[in-house]
Every structure is written in C-alpha cells, then in structure tokens.
C-alpha cells in the first residue's frame, strides 16, 4: 500500500506531543530523537517489506517501544514527566500508565496540550507559529524558512530559543482546566489565524507550500472543534473564515503563475464544498454573546463567497461589516480595507476620502497595499500619472516576486491608460509582520 501524503509529517506531531507527555516537556529533545528514530526504522523496514496496513499504528508502536526502552534504562538517571511520578518506579504501574498515554483519545489531548503550550505569552507570536509548525506539523527549519521566505539561520534561532523556553516551562499546559483553557484559547486562535494567513497572504511564491500552511491551520482548528472546551463560537468563526478563504485558493494564482485579485478570479474555480462548509460553520458560530474579529472577517468572506460574479458583490454589507470590524479590532489595515470597499461601492473619490480619514495612516508606511490602493483609486479617476507614482512607491515596498509582478502590471496599466475594470489585490485584513495591531 501507498502511505498517505505527509504521513510522516502528520505523525511527527502526534508522536512528539505524546512522547513529551511521557518524558516531560524538559525532555523535548529526547522526544524528538525518538520520533526521528521511529522514522529511520520505518524507512529501513518499509523499503524492504512494503508499507504496513496501518502505518500510523506501526510508527506509534515503534515510538512506544523506544519510549519503554528509555524509561526502563534511564529511570534512575533522568527525571521524566512529573505527572507520571512514581508510576514509573515499578514495571506493574509503568506499562499500563504508558499504554494509557498512547491511546487515541489521549493523543488527541496531547496535541491540544502541545498546541496550547506553544502559545504561551512569553513567546512572541511569530515564535509561536514557527514552533507549532516545527513541533506539531513536522516542518523542518529549512521548510519553515522557505515557507516564510526567511533565512535558515533566523528561523533556527527563533525555534531554538522558543524550544528552550518551552522545555523550561516545567510542565505542559493543562487542557482539563476550563478557566485556563478559556484564557489561553484566544492566543491559540491568533496563532492559527497567523499560520493560515502566512499561507494565504504569505511571501512564498510556491503555491503548494502555502496551501500546505493553510491546510495545517485548518487541521489544527478542526482539532480544537473536536474538544468540548475548544468548540467555542470563536473557534467556529475562525474555522469558517479559513474555509471561505481556502475555497478561493485554487483561483488565487492563475495559469501563468500570477497573483489574481478577488475581483479578477475565475470564480468557477472556487471550491464549492469548502464554501458550503464555511457557511455551515459560520451558522454554528452565531451563538453566544461574544462577537470576535473572526466572526466579522468570516462574515465579510461569506459575502464574497455568495457573489457568483465580482459585480454581484454586496458592497453595502461589506462596508457595514468593516465598520463593525473597526469597532471590534481597529487597525489601519482594516480601515484601508474599508476604504477599498467604500471605493467599490461609492466610487474612487469616496475611497480616497476614506483613506484620508484614517487617523493612524502613518502606520501604513511600509505596507505596499497602501500606495497600491491610492494608485487604483487615482487610476480609476483617470489620473494615470499620479496613479503610476503610487504604484512605483508600492513596488518599492513589495515583499515578494508575486507582489512585484502584480504591481508591475498595474504600472503597465497606468502607462497604457488602461480603461479595464481596475483591480486591487486582496490585502490581509490584519497584517502579521509589518504592522503590529
């Protein structure tokens, strides 16, 4: 049989989460060694004997056997998980205690435990995201560096420091305490949101890599939804938002490999099933009193998802939703998006006025979509020369080849005086790197 795609990567997260529970978080590196060892064994045996019927169970069993080995051999030399305590002292108690930790339900909780542990406030948000990718999603430093278009050294440093901090945190997060769970949950949402956005808006030119990041964020969000404490309206809203955006992924890059704006996308390529899932999840999110930014962003995405053609978009609804987002989570980026919606709805002059009214718009310097939006509005008013200057300013700020290519095309449109329906690249609702909200 053929192993499923990314089997090793996915299993790596499960195994490390569980082994860390057995060994204790201070032995994170040991857990990683055991996982690596299990993969080496699989590689050696499977290539001669073929893939077993249940490869996940095989890998887990290999990790468990190795864990027993280590626990027996090193129980006096090393301290293991404090939760297991004296259970490790006797063979009678060790075996059932460890077996219990390797059951399917326990592993599910271990993944959450690790996810919550990665999202501690002492770690910067980008470190949390990198740690989740490394530990729970099985991405190597190299793979993360290439997905983030960052240097190997920078990511390695970030992850090494984060791991040191995690290993020093004495014990893993307790996912059975409702108050602690609820208090940490927003940070977990935020990390998953950033992970998804890194895939959706990120700098890597490789679509496959970016789609992977989005799928990982969705997979982890689905884990949250399976947990009674994790399935809150905000988690549903976040999952809905991810579904709506992921539905558009197949159309975001056209056949020529260029970024395509929301208004230019071939909507027949949108994934109908994901959009339907989004609608269902958004309905499930509409309970309780809390209105989070994820609710509002998902609602905005749902308006786009419901429009069969770009010109069918309900801009009145979108402007209202951006007003709401500004009250829930104000930021100059949200205000810029609102201005873009205003321009779509009421024309470029009103859009420019809306940009002029952004109080803290000085924080947008450095954000390429700020001059790009000005450029679009000016182009639409027929002021090609002013528009061209704005696009040049945006080009100077562009962060990756896809953005550069997109902006170069817009400059070309200004020079030709292109009367075509202008386009604005779908900017991030909130930005992760350049501007701290």
């Amino acid at each position: 049989m053929e192993p499923s795609d990314h089997l090793f990567r996915r299993e790596a997260g499960r195994m490390i989460a569980t082994l860390t529970r057995v060994f204790g978080v201070h032995n994170l590196a040991l857990a990683e060694d055991v996982v690596q060892d299990a993969f080496c064994r699989a590689l050696e045996v499977w290539k001669f004997r073929g893939v077993p019927d249940n490869p996940s169970a095989w890998l887990l069993a290999a990790a468990k056997n190795r864990a027993f080995d280590i626990l027996r051999r090193q129980r006096t030399a090393r301290t293991f998980a404090p939760e297991l305590g004296r259970l490790l002292d006797s063979e009678w108690t060790l075996v059932p205690a460890v077996e219990e930790l390797f059951t399917a339900n326990a592993i599910k909780d271990d993944l959450l435990r690790m996810m919550f542990s990665c999202c501690q406030a002492r770690l910067a948000e980008e470190a949390q995201v990198a740690l989740i990718l490394n530990i729970l999603c099985g991405f190597s430093v190299n793979e993360i560096a290439s997905a983030f278009v960052s240097s190997h050294a920078a990511i390695e440093k970030r992850i090494t420091r984060a791991k040191k901090l995690l290993a020093a945190s004495k014990r893993l997060f307790d996912v059975t305490a409702p108050a602690d769970f609820a208090a940490r949950l927003p940070a977990v949402h935020r990390a998953l949101y950033l992970l998804f956005n890194e895939g959706y808006h990120g700098a890597s030119a490789e679509t496959a890599v970016r789609a992977e990041l989005c799928h990982e964020a969705m997979r982890l969000a689905a884990l949250l939804l399976e947990h009674p404490l994790g399935s809150t309206p905000a988690t549903y809203a976040l999952s809905a938002l991810m579904c709506f955006n992921a539905a558009r992924l197949p159309a975001r890059v056209n056949a020529a490999g260029n970024l395509t704006s929301l208004f230019d996308q071939d909507r027949s390529l949108w994934d109908r099933k994901l959009a339907t899932d989004g609608i269902r999840l958004l309905e499930l999110a509409a309970t309780g009193r809390e209105l989070t930014e994820y609710h509002v962003e998902a609602a905005i995405a749902s308006v786009h998802a419901r429009a069969p053609r770009a010109e069918d978009t309900d801009w009145t609804a979108i402007v209202l939703l951006y007003d709401m987002l500004m009250s829930v989570r104000p930021s100059p980026i949200v205000a810029l998006n609102r201005a873009i919606a205003v321009a779509q709805h009421e024309g470029p002059e009103r859009g420019l006025e809306a940009i002029g009214a952004i109080e803290d718009r000085d924080r947008l310097t450095g954000y390429p979509f700020y001059p790009a939006a000005l450029g679009e509005f000016e182009l639409r008013r027929g002021r090609h020369e002013t528009a061209r200057k704005h696009f040049h300013a945006a080009l100077a700020l562009a962060r990756n080849p896809m953005e550069r290519q997109f902006l170069t095309q817009r400059i070309g449109a200004c020079e030709r005086g292109d009367p075509r329906q202008p386009t604005i690249l779908e900017p991030a609702a909130r930005l992760q790197r350049e501007i701290r909200t």
Partner: protein, 114 residues
C-alpha cells in the same frame, strides 16, 4: 538468469525532515515495485541493525562492531535476478540510495556445483 546480491551501504537519513524521509521512502518503494514487476527480485532481503558484534581471531575475541565508518556499514541486502553482471549493475543504478550519498555493492552469487 543469474543471481546477485545488492549490499546497501551508508544512507543515513538522520539529518532529514519527516517530509524528506517520507519522500525518500516512497522512492525506495517505487524502485522495489518496479524491480518486482520486472521479475528481478529473487528475495527482497532485510535491513540490518547498525549495531552488533564482531568475533575475530583464533581466540574468538568479541568486539562491539561493526568498526566501519557510517558510510561503509552494510545496512541491508536484497537478492536480485538478472541476465548478467552488466544488467545487475544497470538495475542498481535506479536505487535511491545514491541521492543520499550511499552505495550499492553488486556481487554475483557463486553457483555451487562442479
């Protein structure tokens, strides 16, 4: 048809990410599958543990072994059927081990008899 043994040496995957290891495994599986379909596999063989003992000399002294450097340790073998040594060598060239810096030793199995 003649028989050959392939001795695999030194493909140490420890520096690879899970995804890379899976890809490497899938290449091996594809290679074995292809050889099997073409009727070249006499016996798929075994991986060998990297540890063991070496017994030497008249005094049969026992040492931890093998001594060799990681790249020289035989870590698996397979029995192959091929027309002749030249074809067996050609077959070995498809082995994914080379991408990881390893080697394949192709040894004809001596025919017992007169």
């Amino acid at each position: 048809m003649s028989e050959f043994t392939f001795l695999f040496r030194g493909s140490d995957p420890t520096a690879q990410s899970p995804e890379e290891m899976q890809k490497s495994m899938q290449k091996w599986l594809a290679w074995f599958k292809e050889l099997g379909e073409k009727g070249h596999i006499k016996y798929p063989g075994h991986p060998l543990e990297r540890t063991g003992k070496v017994v030497t000399g008249k005094h049969k002294s026992v040492h931890d072994g093998p001594y060799a450097e990681a790249k020289d340790i035989v870590n698996g073998f397979t029995l192959i059927e091929a027309r002749d040594l030249a074809q067996a060598v050609e077959i070995s060239k498809g082995c994914p081990i080379f991408e990881a810096g390893g080697s394949v030793e192709v040894r004809p199995i001596r025919v017992l008899g007169m």
